[in-house]
């Protein structure tokens, strides 16, 4: 008999475990989605109000607010994309050079990068605020990419350096014999080979910059320049009369959806980036 209890029990256990995991991971988000589609009255009626009262008004309220919610998403996208490009532009040469060294300096820099990668960067906000004031970098989305790149560099360099170190040295030596310059070697031989690592590093940097809160909170004060994270915090303190739970929920859904899409599309690369960090680090 194939359906002996001995074989069924682990499967049943597993199914219930998976169900529990999904409930734990998704229920809070689904509740936000549900809330965002309900009228205020039905929300305050507790479980009794589970029936009617569906609406899209919460979304139109959020999307037509001043400034409209789309502006925050756009700002976050711009900052995320530019920070990613800047980080990669700085990290790739650095990681390459670091991977080709084997001296004390490499050890020192590597150790420093590791320490910086785990450093709770929230500690830096006050000094960075002063930098922004003195150099006139406040309220400027382009300028915000500088601290973001700086904060992302340690992890980016470590990940890319590990990828470069994995490439066989002979590859580059052959290219050198054929007269390729450093730029050509990087562009035509090395980069294509570490492409996957570049993509997953870039995605992690993008996620960080999109979600960053304390620096954005202190560098941006104009509402039309806010990125998503400080905008959410400001929305949290902006209810006029009664607490607009539905509108808040609509904001959380709109703020979450782009990232969820990104994660689902690129999940393989993001997972690879995260686990590479663990294995190589």
């Amino acid at each position: 008999m194939s359906s002996s209890p001995l074989r069924q029990r682990p499967a049943l256990l597993r199914i219930s475990m998976v169900a529990l995991l999904m409930l734990w991971s998704l229920a809070p988000m689904l509740w936000q989605l549900y809330t965002s589609l309900r009228t205020p009255e039905s929300l305050l009626a507790g479980l009794a109000g589970l029936g009617g009262g569906w609406t899209l008004a919460n979304y139109s309220a959020v999307l037509q607010a001043d400034p409209p919610f789309g502006v925050y998403l756009l700002n976050s996208t711009v900052v995320g994309a530019l920070s990613t490009l800047l980080t990669l532009a700085l990290a790739i040469p650095c990681a390459y050079a670091l991977s080709r060294r084997s001296d004390l300096l490499k050890l020192v820099i590597g150790g420093g990068l590791l320490a910086a990668a785990v450093f709770p960067y929230v500690l830096l906000f006050l000094a960075l605020l002063q930098v922004a004031r003195q150099l006139g970098l406040a309220n400027n989305l382009l300028a915000l990419c500088l601290p973001y790149a700086g904060l992302s560099l340690p992890l980016a360099v470590l990940l890319l350096q590990a990828a470069f170190a994995d490439l066989p040295v002979e590859l580059e030596e052959n290219a050198l014999l054929e007269g390729f310059s450093l730029g050509q070697r990087l562009r035509w031989i090395l980069l294509p080979l570490i492409g996957p690592a570049v993509v997953s590093t870039g995605l992690l940097v993008f996620l960080f910059s999109w979600n960053e809160f304390p620096i954005a909170l202190t560098w941006l004060s104009r509402s039309e320049l806010l990125t998503l994270a400080p905008a959410m915090a400001r929305i949290a303190g902006s209810s006029v009369f009664t607490v607009p739970h539905g509108a808040f929920a609509a904001a959380t859904v709109l703020g979450g959806v782009p990232l969820l899409a990104l994660l689902l599309i690129f999940q393989r690369q993001i997972v690879a980036g995260l686990t590479q960090g663990a294995i190589k680090g």
């Binding site: 004060s221 006029v240 009664t242």
Partner: protein, 437 residues
Amino acid sequence: MQSAALGGSEPGCDLRPAARQAWFAVGLGLGLALALLWGGLAWAGRPTTVRLLMPAPFADATAELVESFNREHRGLRIAVTRGPFETESVSDLAISSLLLGDSPYDLLLMDVTWTAKYAAAGWLLPLDDWLGPEPLAPLVAGARAGNIIDGNLWRVPMVADMGLMYWRTDLMAAPPRTPTELVAISERLQRQGKVRWGYVWQGRQYEGLSCVFLEMLRGFGGNWESSGEGLGTPAATKAASWLRQLIVKGISPAAVANFAEPEALQSFEAGEAAFMRNWPYAWQELQGPSSRVAGKVGVTMMVAEVGEPPAATQGSWGLSVLAGSRHPAEAVQVLQALTGEASQRLLVQRWGYSPTLTALFDDPALVAERPLLPILQNALESVALRPLNPGYAQLSDILQRQLSSVITGELEPALAMERAGRGSQLLLEASGRGSEQ
């Protein structure tokens, strides 16, 4: 050179390529000059913009005023930034813009408690030279305090604000006058099943809690001195333990320890409570279509012990010109327009905000239209001011922290108030040392 080659090959064109180029250059130069001139003229003719940051409700209330101001003034226009609702969030926003140096605003609508801090930080422009002698004379006495600090005028109030007690006229004949009465009426109504809760108020660890407390501190015979002292007193302990007892006895929900104004209003509006502590703005909302208690609400002063005058925490909003403004003269002009009589009249008539000008309180037509005005005037006569200290935010934070411990049952009232008193003392001493050097 493509154009030259083309020109040369074109029949009937008698201009030589070089000459064509010269003409082209002249034309381009002329065009550029014209464009510059036009641009310059447009620049010069552009109206001066005075930028103003306000909390969201005031941005909404003044929208009409701002629009008509912009219509009437050719070379001057007001641009309002709609800030957050919560006082502290607006302050956070204003401070972060000011710290970043290039504040995008000329004028700021300020809570009364910010004035000392902002003035000490050097962010405000003294208004004495701009407004002529005695600019505060037309104001009722309760609205005058908190604008002049160290001999300079920093702020002109636009609306008065004071803590009030809202009560249900359908559930009782007259509102309670003493803390004991409030408890007794609440317990009776709760026992009868008329309301779920007796009294809802602001118990979250934030500025609103300090306002609630100040009224009770006065009601029990104490005071929060302008120096910042007065928290380590027996009256403070009584006030704090009374607030704690409200929760222990079930008169206020435990959730009140996380209530700000919107949560209290939401509960009272739904008919869940017999009493609410809130500001005048709540009146309008309670008469609205989503309110279950419209027409059943009375407004009065907060309860006080027999023999103690009831107190209302002063929370007025006023305009200040920022020191970094590039158009101080225009900013002052806007300030005068928005704090003037016509503006205040509209804010009362349309939105129910309390005026600050004596003339408006004394206007019988306006009083007939807004029966709340005498109550507000009465409350303004007994306003309680929070300390006018540049370190107020921190003094209040010390108090909120200890009060929150009492309300959540973490600390005994006497111990907590002793700590609050000691903490403020330490802060005041430390700041004295800082300013001496």
